[in-house]
Symmetry: C2
Subunit: 373 residues, 2 copies
């Protein structure tokens, strides 16, 4: 049920059908290179989050530059990444249903699969599913480092869970999942720095208590695009999970940087292309990207070249721009928008159109679009 | 790139994989029957909006009960409806690109296609595209009846456009598109009544000026689930375009009804099924439906049976419920959510699971999911 691609290779950017998801390949590759270099210099591993792009083609570009594999949030995403040629996937999330755990076990027979747990019963159920398939999975304990979502809330619970994992036949204790989701979007450097420092303290305490029971952590994994410049300076994390850096979005661009961090940020590579379809109102023009083309959870998109104007997704298939007399758009004019939140927006599309120097160079399928299970 | 269905026919509701879009077939059929009866009694036509369900199977259920065809917002949706067996589709929207207009013309060769215009240049471009294919389309002039989005803003402009349509070789003037989008979600009966009355006045004025130039309107079409109980009482509309009535959502349920309208409302037939996947926090439990499973534009969903609690889509694949000591959920427990806005939520799924008496009876593909162009 994939929709037809909005462009063909070799087309000019003006010929791309709308609404379309367009990536500037030069900027995208600069973002990938910059991250790969910084992570390599810090002697850490990079495991980018594929929930952002949902495309094995992008994941392979990241692995080509040194990434050790990818992260996924769902078993269905992981299956699609493995099918697309990625042989090392960490599911950075808990999975509870028997049917899904059976899929995890089956996938672990053909690729290197890691998964997170935060509950003893669910850990036993995972082992049971793996035993049925005689599959072995790497299991990371998710610890709550300040996000207050999933993850055990004390070092003692982590120790109990680690002992349980080590006692079970088909599970390998792989370390800690330590991701601070809510820290990613804190606006000031100080707030992000404090959140990361607090998370690091929790990791240290957890590693210490494990160590005192002679349990080593292979890997502590976490971090994100928002906190990356802090995460990278802490020895507590071995592996970073940044995702949005490759494409970027308007929300991450709102994070302030210090002067000494200037030039370390990532650039917008990702745009929604939309067309003006109605100009009847004196002060409003209407474009063809609405709530089904742009996720609305992180606010309105920015209009490239018209940053002072507001683009509102007023209904399913309409976006309205309030214009003044001097700033006017013409019917059929095409605009590029920077969306508030890249992840759920990409999940609305079947195709990513890669453009270089105004020409369509690549069309990637968003293979894991709608991979909810 | 469709994802695998979350259920099989004959399964019990408990076996449905999560997150999943579930429709209670008894309630759904009651909604369809109720609307069909009310529209028939009012001697009007019903052309339900397929942008809501995006499923030819649902459209055929509506047509079986007397609907004259469906509405779509995009040419890609219309193509999928025609492919799914619907032979009368009205695109209730403006289309401006040459490539898309060519598709409209091609579709008009194999089905009865209507489309809206609000601009003379776009009308000529449509005629040109139709002439190339020697196709004929029914063209409705969209008039702004208070929504201030698309549509001509005066009766005089409508007259000019009607004259133009009538002068062009491959266009047939089909009447007026008169939909008041922003009136649908006004909360009080009085506000909706006033909005519909204002819209009717604009229709009358437009029809009068057309009449004075000997131009008849075949059809005035518009109305929606929110204003339906008012629309149906006005002779100005010949055809009603309600969509959400079939499934309903939490936002439409917030519209207040008068005592004398009691029993005329539609019931929630449509739910998101989600599972509790983490219970580590003392006051928060986490479920597996986040921003990629539930559209967030019309607020948080309601939790069936726990209406006092709030379900927040805190991230892409997580929803958090803050619980008190007495109201607790267990790991693996499944919940049913009523989403704020059904249309963009359905657009996130590949399948609708139809359930009756706790058993999966039908699995409909959301064939026009992602049909953005």
């Amino acid at each position: 049920m994939a929709q037809r691609p909005p462009a063909k290779e070799g087309m000019s950017i003006d010929e791309i059908d709308t609404p379309a998801l367009v990536v500037d390949l030069d900027i995208y590759e600069r973002n990938l290179d910059k991250m790969a270099t910084m992570v390599k210099n810090a002697k850490k591993k990079l495991r980018p989050h594929a929930k952002m792009h949902k495309s094995p083609a992008v994941a392979l570009d990241q692995i080509k530059r040194g990434a050790v594999g990818v992260c996924c949030q769902k078993i269905s995403e992981a299956e699609i990444m493995v099918e697309g040629g990625i042989d090392d996937v960490l599911i950075t999330n808990e999975i509870v249903s028997t049917a899904k755990l059976a899929r995890v076990a089956k996938l672990a027979k053909i690729a290197k699969i890691g998964i997170c747990v935060d509950d003893a019963g669910a850990t036993r159920a995972l082992n049971h599913a793996c035993a049925i398939e005689d599959a072995h999975v790497r299991v990371l304990i998710e610890i709550d480092v300040g996000g207050h979502r999933c993850g055990v809330t004390s070092a003692e619970e982590a120790l109990e869970l680690a002992k349980l994992i080590k006692s079970l036949s088909h599970l390998h204790f792989g370390g800690l999942q330590a991701y601070h989701g809510s820290a990613q979007h804190k606006r000031t450097v100080q707030e992000r720095s404090d959140a990361v420092s607090g998370a690091a303290k929790i990791i240290r305490k957890t590693k210490d208590i494990l160590k005192s029971s002679n349990i080593d952590c292979d890997i502590v994994t976490g971090g994100g695009t928002g906190t990356f410049l802090h995460d990278i300076n802490y020895s507590e994390w071995d592996e970073l999970q940044c995702g949005s850096y490759a494409f970027m979005d308007a929300d991450y661009a709102k994070n302030k940087l210090n002067d000494d961090q200037f030039g370390t940020g990532f650039e917008h590579a990702f745009f929604i292309r939309t067309v003006i379809m109605s100009v009847c109102q004196p002060e409003i023009v209407v474009a063809d990207a609405g709530l089904k083309a742009i996720a609305s959870d992180s606010g309105n998109p920015t209009i490239v070249g018209h940053e002072g104007l507001t683009y509102r997704m007023t209904s399913d298939e309409h976006g309205c721009i309030t214009v003044s007399g001097k700033e006017r758009f013409t019917l059929g004019e095409k605009l590029m928008l920077i969306t508030g939140h890249c992840d759920p927006t990409i999940n609305l599309y079947d195709w990513i159109v890669g453009v270089r120097n105004g020409i369509v160079e690549k069309i990637w399928p968003v293979s894991a679009r709608g991979a909810l299970s």
